[in-house]
């Protein structure tokens, strides 16, 4: 029960962290500027 709770809590937080990082434009470049990758803008 405790194991499952701690595991679920950690994974929920990790998922939330990953999602919030994913949504941030400054993850790949400070200041959030985009750059052209393979002919298209990755955040477009």
């Amino acid at each position: 029960m405790i194991d499952t709770f701690a595991l679920a809590l950690a994974h929920a937080l990790l998922a939330l962290t990953a999602w919030r990082l994913f949504k941030r434009k400054d993850l790949d470049h400070d200041g959030g500027e985009t750059r052209v990758v393979w002919g298209r803008r990755p955040d477009a």
Binding site: I2, A6, L9, L14, A15, T17, L21, D28, H29, D30
Partner: protein, 449 residues
């Protein structure tokens, strides 16, 4: 259900990583720390999850990441040399099969640590990695903390979610790591940008720090107590109100002691009378054997060279007097110290490479700390506190590892990689102006990014 949830989580990370490949790097860190394949019963345990994430992380970096200004740092060179040296000692090991077994995971930890700094190109990536490391470790720490509170502790008996007592799930290792990440947790709570710095984040951080402090109690490890003392002392360095801090620590200690279980306080008393304690006496005997061994084998005996030791343990009381000439014999006892582990396994060359890696890291962090200590701008205020947090965590590891054989603990190499990443990031975005010619007194200053 349990397996499906873990699989779903990993698939989610892969999906996000397809757009933002740095998520693959975080996925590898998570897999390495939590080992979901070992927690799984039937789905993930047959997959090479860490290999999948490493390939994705490397591929994502090579195909999509910006590599402008990327340089190989001195400490990455040290790790490459250490990796090559470890490969050599594995080929010439005293116990080839046992050495190959350890080499199998050590090379992966070192390779990832060499690669990781290249990906840490932004402040957010450094923060994201540290957050993932801390929250991943929290899956064990929260389990251990709750079980300790309800009385389920004991060395080797505090089940942290996995019963095999290896890797970060081993009592002494998680004790040291849990205390070593406290400064980073406090940094993330104060300067983190991923989550809003509100009461919820502060509350969770305080609860997590409390759980971290409970781990050495739950696992009944003396090393953890030493680390707690150290983290308290180092907190003084940047404390603005030192007297208040010392008084607060005293009150916290006075309040905490009555709540400590008797088994814990009894074991902690053996720190003073280490000679009367068999576990500690064995360590001293193994260290003596290792020192003698490396005199005749200066290149070390390869991984798990301790299997060749035969030791004589003379039990003594707290005053150093023999207890009725009590002598015990033992063999193949583990090093119980990262320093002697390096010396015995990798000889003097490996030991000096390893020591250079750690002490260069501490020195570089100190340079960053001093350079940005008085930084005022929002974009630079976080650098000195992060350097301090990482440095304190690193010192705690170096002290804790005096008594535990965790020279190749992957979590620690990730920590070193984040330190290199921070250093390289600052060098790249805020290079120092060249020194002025002699005789001129132009102050050195940072160039804004």
């Amino acid at each position: 259900m349990h397996d499906l949830a873990l699989l779903g989580f990993l698939l989610g990370l892969i999906l996000l990583g397809l757009r933002k490949p740095f998520i693959f790097v975080l996925g590898y860190a998570y897999v390495d720390i939590v080992s979901p394949q070992r927690l799984s019963y039937y789905l993930l345990n047959s997959l090479q999850v860490s290999l999948i994430f490493f390939v994705l992380a490397l591929g994502g970096f090579l195909a999509m990441d910006d590599k402008k200004g990327t340089r190989l740092a001195g400490r990455q060179v040290l790790m490459i040399l250490l990796l090559l040296w470890c490969g050599f000692t594995t080929l010439t090991a005293d116990f080839p099969a046992a050495a190959a077994e350890k080499w199998d995971w050590v090379w992966k930890a070192l390779l990832f640590a060499i690669f990781l700094p290249f990906t840490l190109r932004t402040r957010l990536r450094i923060e994201g990695l540290l957050l993932f490391m801390v929250v991943s470790a929290s899956s064990m720490i929260v389990t251990g903390g709750i079980k300790t509170v309800i009385g389920g502790g004991g060395y080797g008996t505090l089940n942290l979610g996995l019963s095999d007592n290896s890797g970060l799930y081993e009592g002494s290792t998680i004790s040291t790591v849990a205390i070593a990440i406290i400064p980073t947790i406090l940094f993330l709570a104060k300067y983190g940008t991923v989550f809003p710095r509100d009461w919820k984040v502060r509350l969770y951080s305080i609860a997590l720090v409390f759980a971290c402090l409970l781990i050495p109690i739950g696992t009944v490890t003396r090393t953890g107590l030493i680390c707690i003392g150290l983290v308290a002392i180092m907190g003084l360095r940047d404390s603005k109100r030192r007297l208040l801090y010392i008084a607060g620590m005293g009150v916290a200690l006075a309040v905490a002691i009555p709540f400590l279980p008797a088994s814990y306080t009894e074991r902690m008393h053996t720190i003073q009378g280490y000679q009367a304690d068999e576990s500690a006496s064995t360590r001293v005997a193994v260290w003596g054997w290792t020192w003698n061994y490396v005199q005749s084998h200066p290149a070390g005996g390869g991984f798990n060279a301790y299997l060749g030791n035969h030791i004589k343990i003379e039990l003594k009381d707290a005053r150093g007097q023999p207890i009725n000439n009590q002598v015990e014999y033992d063999k193949a006892r583990a090093f119980h110290s990262a320093y002697f582990e390096m010396l015995g396994e990798q000889g003097f060359p490996g030991f000096f490479l390893w020591a250079a890696l750690h002490f260069t890291s501490l020195f570089r962090l100190e340079m960053l700390r001093r350079r940005f200590r008085k930084a005022q701008g929002e974009d630079e205020q976080w650098i000195a506190p992060l350097a301090t947090a990482l440095q304190h965590g690193h010192i705690i590891y170096l002290v804790g590892s005096l008594f535990i054989g965790i020279a190749f603990q992957p979590f620690v190499y990730m920590m070193i990689a984040s330190e290199i990443g921070l250093d390289s990031y600052v060098k790249r975005t805020r290079p120092l102006k060249a020194r002025p010619p002699m005789g001129q007194t132009v102050a050195m200053q940072a160039v804004p990014a």
